[in-house]
Amino acid sequence: MIDWLTPYIDPALDVASWICFIIGGFYLIVGSIGMIRLPDFWARLHGAGVVDTLATELFILGMILQSGWSIVTIKLVLIGVFLFFTSPTSTHAVANAAWLAGIRPKNMKQQAPLTGNQEKSS
């Protein structure tokens, strides 16, 4: 019934995975530019976050589309899931260490709420 579709599936998967790779590569470059352009440690963490999250996950999605239904697919999915859970944890560890070491952003508009009950109204 859908036999006529068969020759188109592989090229379609190729195109889809290439789209993932290209968008992922775009975010990888943007994140790297951010690491250079952003002014200080705290802002650069966000640039690294772009590479950490969307760029890597898009690369893995592209590879999943290339690998087809096999055991490699499952391993790639697991890599994606573990990245999804561990990358924010490591980012938090770095940010927390910097906070405790007394590193503060340049040109911050307000002092950090240390005890932090002032802004709870919202």
Binding site: Y27, H46, I71, H92, K109, N117, Q118, E119, K120, S122
Partner: protein
């Protein structure tokens, strides 16, 4: 006991999926390693509702789908900031109140905040998080509170 069985089933599924072998000898070796892992985890006293969150239901899946969309949107916002010729940053530290009942919910919430570019959880205090925001748009208390309410809803489905 329920958590130990859950851990054993999860490890067995992982072993099968990662190895792809179904020969009797290798299967029995896998079974031995699963039992050994469950025993070690039991000895370490880490088999509880935190390490094996059986009480988190299917709601977590729709939450992760929603979170992925949010991460994509936040990525685009940070991308615009990075690529704009004159970067308009307004870094700030904000205090986000949390009302999750246990540590697991708080971890999910804190990790979700960090995962969305533009906001990073810096410090965890009783009843609140200290969050670093890159721009004014990122420091959107209502969006963060919405995320917190969704995490609480997952927990509440226990």
């Amino acid at each position: 006991m329920l958590h130990a069985i859950g851990l054993g089933l999860g490890l067995s599924a992982l072993w099968l999926l990662l190895s792809g072998f179904f020969e009797p000898l290798l299967l029995s070796l896998g079974l031995v390693s699963v039992v050994l892992c469950v025993y070690l985890a039991h000895r370490m006293d880490v088999v509880d509702h935190e390490t094996i969150p059986l009480h988190i239901g299917y709601g977590i899946i729709s939450y992760f789908v929603w979170l992925t969309v949010e991460v994509a949107k936040a990525n685009w916002a940070v991308t615009k900031v990075i690529l704009s010729p004159k970067m308009v940053l307004n870094q700030s530290f904000i205090t986000v109140p949390t009302d999750q009942s246990d540590d697991l919910g708080r971890v999910i919430y804190a990790n979700s905040i960090t995962l969305t570019p533009g906001t990073i959880t810096v410090e965890i205090e009783p009843g609140s998080f200290l969050v670093h925001a890159l721009t004014d748009d990122a420091a959107d208390m209502e969006a963060l509170a919405d995320m917190g309410a969704r995490v609480t809803a997952i927990e509440g489905n226990a």
